[in-house]
Amino acid sequence: MANDFIIKCINSVVKTILNAEEEIESLDRAIGDGDHYINIKRGSIAVQSIESELATLTPDQAFKKIGMTIMTSVGGASGPLFASFFLALAKEVSGESNLQQFSKGFTSGVESIMNRGKSKLGDKTMLDVLIPVSKKLESLANEGCEIQKLIKEIDLVAMAGVMATKDMMPSKGRSAGLAERAVGHIDPGAKTCQIIISTVCKELKKIK
């Protein structure tokens, strides 16, 4: 995992996020407070703006820097959660990390979100995408799964995770006040995670 790939992903993610404005925003307007798109946009642009600095760092340093940048630029609920993810991920990946190591780091990042957010699978949050993805990623990486197959499976799991939030009762975040009225709406943070994961998958596809 080289930093130029990380930077490519960042640029791609920014583009995809900007294109998904309408979709992401309307989700947080429906069951949140309407700012999720703005938060994510601000954070991803902040990360993009340190691109040249990232290029000089080792991957672990880069993830740490990304985490700190998100922490100081996003705010809201998603800020500390995404920041925790990258800070934890940074601790697990070393200079020349492989897929197995990355998948462990990913799982550790997701656990860090669970700790910070005191949340779990089924709470109708971003975790309903991230937890299934981390499980699938780790098992496929351990199996030594072929990368194109892995990409395809991860993509599907992420999508299934988003869709699953639709029928859940909320229990964390701003939508919790809504109770049954939130049922039928997709969680905005879950959607964002799926979009980011799918974008990274597309970038991965291009390499091979």
């Binding site: 069951i31 407070d33 309407g34 700012d35 006040g177």
Partner: protein, 334 residues
């Protein structure tokens, strides 16, 4: 969207600059990271630090000053501030008696203040406010939201801190005042986040949102508009039920603070009309209104609507509510 605004990205900073200039006898503004402190910082008292997403003005910046807050950290509109803001603010203040964070119970606020709390080397504690009776509390949810009751917590604890109360007394009193507060809000219109440019929610010309949050989060139920007296009846019932569930008796001879709070888009005349309706309901219930506050104290951008907060008094809370306060938006006794 029509607003007095230059660029949406500059909205908060432009507004804070004006705020700080208009009240430069009371506050000082720090840019990068953004925080507001009292003009004169007293490092010997417990430092009261609040903050949260912007859009609720005068909360919290308007409550900085003698007898109330020391610091407020404003985030972007409806978005919690980031930990670096709180960290930089307390470093500037170098408090010698510890820090009390007063945080409204929203995932984002809780997590960002938690990260700040973990990262600073000063002794600190946190009071989480969660006075919103609209959200049914259960172990299943993140819990109730902090709304206009927060202002009462800030005023009362601010008084104790000002007269030299220590950190654990402040924390204890804050928790008690929060427990003694219940609120419920009703929206007649949505609010519009400047950067989003369109209303957060759609609402029919004859509809109201009962139990709305201060970010325009949908509340308990959508219903048809009705006579103010009837809306108020439902609001008062929800609050009384909440006090029942907390096993607090509002018929206490100490009485209550009654706060009728506007969300910003509702004229003062309507807030007084609501106040009048509440007094009639409480008379029926033999609940004594000992202190009153009517106005736009905890707002939701341009949302039309109002909330009612009741705070059960005891001797200590009453004393600290009555003590002098000198902030830009709450001021008496000085």
């Amino acid at each position: 969207m029509k607003k007095f605004i230059n660029k949406t990205d500059d909205f908060i900073i432009d507004s804070l600059k004006g705020f700080a200039k208009a009240h430069d006898d009371i506050v000082a503004l720090n840019l990068d990271p953004i925080f507001v402190t009292r003009k004169e910082i007293n490092p010997n008292k417990v430092l009261l630090v609040s903050g949260g997403g912007s859009g609720h003005e005068p909360l919290h910046t308007g409550y900085i000053g003698k007898g109330m807050l020391d610091v407020a950290c404003p985030g972007h509109v409806f978005t919690s501030p980031t930990p670096d803001q709180m960290i930089a603010a307390v470093e500037k203040c170098q408090p010698k008696s510890g820090i009390l964070f007063i945080v409204k119970n929203y995932s984002g606020d809780v997590m960002n203040f938690e990260m700040a709390s973990e990262m600073i080397e000063f002794e600190n504690q946190t009071v989480l406010t969660n006075d919103d009776a609209a959200v049914i509390n259960s172990s299943y949810t993140t819990g109730r939201r902090g709304v206009a009751g927060t202002l009462i917590v800030e005023k009362v604890v601010g008084s104790l801190a000002e007269e030299g109360g220590d950190l654990s007394s402040c924390k204890q009193l804050g928790d008690r005042v929060n427990h003694h507060c219940s609120s419920i809000g009703v929206a007649l219109s949505s609010c519009t986040i400047p950067a989003a440019g369109k209303p957060t929610f759609d609402i029919g010309v004859d509809e109201i949102e009962f139990g709305v949050g201060i970010h325009g989060e949908p509340g308990r139920k959508r219903e048809k508009i009705k006579m103010a007296n009837h809306i108020v009846e439902d609001m008062v019932s929800a609050i009384l039920k909440d006090f029942d569930e907390k096993s607090l008796d509002l018929k206490d001879p100490n009485g209550i603070i009654l706060l009728v709070n506007g969300f910003s888009g509702t004229p003062l005349s309507e807030l007084y009309l609501i106040y009048q309706a509440v007094t009639e309901k409480l008379k029926e219930k033999q609940i004594q209104i000992s202190r009153s506050l009517v106005g736009n104290y905890t707002t939701a951008l341009d949302m039309a609507g109002a909330s009612i907060t009741m705070c059960l008094l005891d001797d200590e809370i009453k004393k600290h509510w009555d003590s002098s306060v000198l902030t830009s938006n709450l001021r008496w006794g000085y």
